[in-house]
Every structure is written in structure tokens, then in C-alpha cells.
């Protein structure tokens, strides 16, 4: 069936178009696996916000090329002009969904400050030494009655969309901000009031669908986590399925008590497939969602039990804070931040994930508590996988105020970046004990490390039309 999006692209024709010559991405997820070369550099958000270190947050350029003399070193830093941003998630100006747009390259990183609402644009033409080229100041964002920028996705037609977690006052409702290809604010994507809570989102243009998840208002989560706020209904537990073209919510699924704080939403990369996953961080569950009989459904498919810790009043929840799908959609990876576990499930049968392997590391219960004698003072958190599915990397900071509550030493000693070698054929992971990037011994002081991106596309940002 041929359908047209609002830019007039025929999705049907697009699927059969000759790809691979022009444009910023890969023709298909399989092409990304086969044609990509191993990642040589990683861009990693690194933070000083919320500490007494008098320095700005920055993006670290980390050498991940084993053949390089500076392997495992931070080879450059793109410093933000202002302190206090809390760099969190960031994204590309273009991905494989933009492959029809002439002259567009996957060149610019759009890097918001979640606390400041300041939006930075970094030109990565020189992959090893990117350059800050533009800053959108918070006042411009507030004029749209939005704050708390979170997920950045490029959208077909050169636009860039950013989920915004709050209104100008840091309260509800959130919404979506659109930038044009000059990185000027174009306006809001949604009509205010379609949703209250916002967090992450993922779109599938071929199905004309976008899914968004729910954290809380900035004024709720930014000061720190308070169970009273959960009891008061200030944290979300729903998924919203949007008509991508009409920009309206077509369906909301309340995940209920077992679906508290649904964070990362990942549609499968194959644009023909209407399956995806979301991690309900607070209730320690992974939900599968899929389309059937004209509507979306969601069902809990993985459940991580709480664990008792001596001296604690209540069982400690796993807090699965990040998930991702391998580019071939076969494996779902995730990190249980509090328990200290990196896991992979085989999702060949999407409704029935089968545990494949895990590494028990860091957190409160991890079997491995040091790498190269560097003590792990936090659990695994943001994860990123190589396009070929063979190398999984992770960092250990969640959010400065939440780190301070659950792993107070993370701020004092800084994060680490670690890696596991993945065997996709056998479904196993092995910790690479030779790989360690220590963000604890930097000139300005220990930094927290958060999201990881590859210059040539990520398992968490690339979308296909």
C-alpha cells in the first residue's frame, strides 16, 4: 500500500528506491549492519551540573579504535558555553529516514541541556574535533511554553523534533519542539494539551505512527526522586500512540501499576514491523507493544524482581533505565542501574523474549565491582551498541540529582565507560576488561558520563522510512 506523508514522499516508492549513494544514512537496517565500519569515535555527554566544580558540561570525544595510539582516551572535549545545562540525551540532524533529502548529511549533533533548556548545535564535520556552531537560548524555548528538552530525533523533511518534558514553568504539560534545518525554532509540533507527561519518542513514518512515553514534570524529577510524588500521581505510566501526519494522539495505553515511569521507547528498526519495547523503570518491567486488529496493545514481557539489601527498608527495585534493540532487531539489551546488571534477551519472537545472557557488574549487587582496579561506584546505565551488534558500551550516570540519591559517590569520583564484546550468533556477552574510560580523573574534576552516540548512526537513533 502506498501512503503519502505530509512531505509528499511516497513510502511505497521509497522502499524500492536506490539507496546507498546519496544522503546521510543506510538504505536498510541490514545495510547499516553490513556496510558500516566499526566505530572509531564515540561522543559521550559528560556533566558538571549539580556539583561544585566550576565548569560547563561537555561532550567527550572518546577514541574507541583499538588500532589507535589514543585508544580509550578522551581525545577532545566540546565544552558548552554556559554552566548548569545537565546535558542528557542528544541526537543527529539527519538519519536514515532523511535519505531522500539532497545535500543533507549526518553532520550536526543537537545537544539540549535538560535543566537549562538551552539547545546546542555541534558540527561534527571534523569527526575528531567537532565544533559548537549555534546555541538556542532558554528564553526562546520558553516562548513556546516548553522546557526540559529530552529526546532529539531528526524527522523527514529536514526538521528536528525534540520532546519537551514541561511547560515554561517546568510544570505540565510537556510537548514537542520543532527546529528547522537552520536550527531555528519553527514552533511546536503538537497542539498543547494532547498529552500531559512526556519523555522519549520514536516514529515509524511508513506506518504513520509515533509513540511517546512518560517521566514527570521537570519540577518533579529534577530536584530528585520522592516516593510521595509517585503516590501523588506525579509520575507517568502511559504510552501514547500518535498519528504522525495529523500530530494527534490516536490511542493511549495506561500500563498501570506495573508500568510506572515508562522511559525509553524503541520501535524495531525494520520499518515493516509494528513491534516495540518500553522499559517501565520504577516498576522494573519491560513491556512489548505491537499493532494488531487496527490498534496498539502492550503487555509486560520481562519482570525483574526486587532484591533485599541489608539495612534497607524495602526491596531494591532493579530500575531498568535504558534499553535498545540491535540493528537486526534480534536482541533487546538493557541495564538495571540499581541492581547492577547488563542484560540481553533474544526477541526473535517479539512477544516472548528469551534471556540470552547478562553481566553482573556495579550497582548494589553486581558480582564485578572493579575494572582495572577502578572501583565501580554506580550501576550500568546508558547503553549503546555497535551497528554490527558486536560491541556494547555503557556509562554509569543517570541524572545528577538521582545519582546523588542512589550512588552518591558517582558525583565525587565520576563515571566510567565500559564495554562488552557480544557474540550475536551465540547470544553471549563478555566483559572487555581491557576497556575502561575513566571520567573521574579529568583536569576540571570528576565528570558524570551519560549518553553515547556514534558518528555514523546509532541503534538508538536511526529510523527508516
Amino acid at each position: 500500500m502506498a501512503t503519502e506523508d505530509r512531505h509528499g514522499h511516497s513510502h511505497h516508492e521509497h522502499a524500492h528506491h536506490e539507496h546507498g549513494v546519496e544522503g546521510p544514512g543506510y538504505a536498510t537496517p541490514q545495510a547499516a549492519i553490513e556496510e558500516s565500519t566499526p566505530e572509531k569515535l564515540a561522543y559521550v555527554a559528560a556533566l558538571y551540573t549539580g556539583t561544585d566544580v566550576d565548569a560547563s558540561d561537555f561532550v567527550a570525544v572518546v577514541d574507541v579504535d583499538p588500532g589507535s595510539p589514543t585508544y580509550r582516551e578522551i581525545v577532545d572535549r566540546i565544552e558548552m558555553p554556559t554552566r548548569g545545562d545537565e546535558l542528557h540525551h542528544f541526537g543527529w540532524n539527519a538519519c536514515s529516514s532523511s535519505c531522500h533529502v539532497e545535500g543533507l548529511e549526518r553532520q550536526y549533533l543537537v545537544i539540549p541541556g535538560n535543566r537549562s533548556s538551552r539547545i546546542h548545535v555541534v558540527d561534527t564535520s571534523d569527526r575528531r574535533h567537532p565544533e559548537l556552531v549555534k546555541v538556542i537560548e532558554p528564553e526562546e524555548v520558553h516562548e513556546q511554553d516548553l522546557s526540559g528538552p529530552h529526546t532529539v530525533h531528526c524527522a523527514p523533511g529536514r526538521e528536528i523534533m525534540i520532546s519537551m518534558l514541561g511547560n515554561a514553568d517546568g510544570e505540565l504539560p510537556g510537548g514537542f519542539l520543532v527546529l528547522d534545518d537552520d536550527f531555528e525554532i519553527e514552533g511546536r509540533w503538537d497542539a498543547p494539551g494532547e498529552i500531559e507527561f512526556n519523555y522519549d519518542f520514536w516514529y515509524q513514518p511508513r506506518r504513520d505512527v509515533m509513540v511517546s512515553s512518560e517521566w514527570a514534570a521537570p519540577a518533579t524529577y529534577q530536584p530528585g526522586f520522592d516516593l510521595e510524588d509517585v503516590e501523588a500521581g506525579k509520575y507517568g505510566h502511559s504510552l501514547h500512540f500518535w498519528n504522525w501526519g495529523d500530530r494527534t494522539v490516536e490511542q493511549t495505553i495506561d500500563l498501570g501499576e506495573e508500568g510506572m515511569i515508562p522511559l525509553e521507547v524503541r520501535f524495531m528498526h525494520n520499518p515493516e514491523v509494528a513491534h516495540g519495547y518500553v522499559n517501565a523503570a520504577l516498576s522494573s518491567n519491560i513491556f512489548h507493544f505491537w499493532r494488531e486488529d487496527g490498534e496498539y496493545h502492550a503487555e509486560k514481557v520481562i519482570d525483574f524482581e526486587g532484591r533485599d539489601l541489608e539495612g534497607w527498608d524495602m526491596p531494591v527495585p532493579a530500575l531498568p533505565t535504558d534499553i535498545l534493540l540491535s540493528m537486526d532487531d534480534r536482541y533487546l539489551f538493557g541495564a538495571n542501574w540499581l541492581h547492577g546488571e547488563v542484560w540481553m534477551y533474544d526477541v526473535s519472537d517479539p512477544a516472548n523474549p528469551r534471556e540470552s545472557d547478562s553481566i553482573s557488574i556495579g550497582g548494589y549487587f553486581g558480582e564485578i565491582q572493579a575494572v582495572q582496579d577502578r572501583e565501580l561506584i554506580s550501576g550500568p546505565q546508558m547503553i549503546q551498541l555497535s551497528l554490527d551488534g558486536k560491541r556494547l558500551y555503557w556509562t554509569t550516570s543517570l541524572y545528577s540529582t538521582w545519582d546523588d540519591q542512589f550512588f552518591p559517590e558517582e558525583g565525587e569520583r565520576g563515571s566510567v565507560m565500559l564495554k562488552a564484546d557480544v557474540d550475536p550468533r551465540r547470544g553471549t556477552m563478555t566483559l572487555d576488561e581491557e576497556f575502561l574510560v575513566d571520567f573521574g580523573n579529568l583536569p576540571d574534576g570528576p565528570a558524570r558520563a551519560h549518553e553515547i552516540r556514534w558518528p555514523d548512526g546509532d541503534c538508538t537513533s536511526d529510523v527508516w522510512q
Partner: protein, 111 residues
């Protein structure tokens, strides 16, 4: 006192490690702005009273917020916490600042 002198307040900032700085705040300045004007670095984030990164605690004196301090709950306000980004001193005052202040304001709910 007369003129602009009458409208400035002396704000003593103290850190838990013993450091101490005194800055003068004009009527036009919040505590954060007064500190910045003297190149004294305080933690901050949203600068609109929503995120609590700049939380301080009044040890002495009187401070009022420009707008509702959304990041603070009634129990925090009762205990003297203030948001330096939107708070103005109304008298000379002494305020405990630094990242430790906010950290101590919230606790691990499972512990």
C-alpha cells in the same frame, strides 16, 4: 544610608567545607546573580525555580522568592531552603550554599 547603598544587602555565602564568601546584592540581583557578579561559582540549572540545582539554606536573615519556588515542597521551605536563582535577600543574610545542600535535602527512599 542613602541612594543605591540603601538597597544593597550583604550576603555571606558559606560552604560545608568551611569556605566563606561575602557578596553584595543590589535590589536588582538574585543571590545567584550577586554571586556571579563577584565571580563566585554557585551550582545552578534552570534559573526559573523548577530544578533545585541552586538550592541554598538560610542560616540568618530574610529572603523572598521572585516567584513560586516550584522545586521546593512546603517541608523544604519550612526548613529554610531557598532557590538562589530566584531568591532576593531582604536583609543582610547568611546562606549555606554548594551542591551538598541540595543533596542533603532529598534522601534515598528505599534506604
Amino acid at each position: 544610608m542613602s541612594g543605591s547603598e540603601a538597597t544593597t544587602r550583604e550576603v555571606t555565602l558559606t560552604w560545608r567545607d568551611g569556605r566563606r564568601e561575602t557578596v553584595r546584592a543590589t535590589e536588582a540581583q538574585t543571590i545567584l546573580e550577586a554571586a556571579e557578579a563577584r565571580a563566585v561559582g554557585l551550582p545552578f540549572g534552570c534559573r526559573t525555580g523548577a530544578c533545585a540545582t541552586c538550592t541554598g539554606r538560610v542560616a540568618d536573615g530574610r529572603v523572598t522568592h521572585d516567584r513560586e519556588p516550584r522545586a521546593l515542597k512546603p517541608r523544604h521551605l519550612e526548613r529554610g531552603y531557598v532557590l538562589c536563582c530566584i531568591a532576593r535577600p531582604r536583609t543582610d543574610c547568611r546562606i549555606e550554599v554548594g551542591a551538598d545542600v541540595r543533596t542533603a535535602m532529598v534522601s534515598n527512599p528505599w534506604k
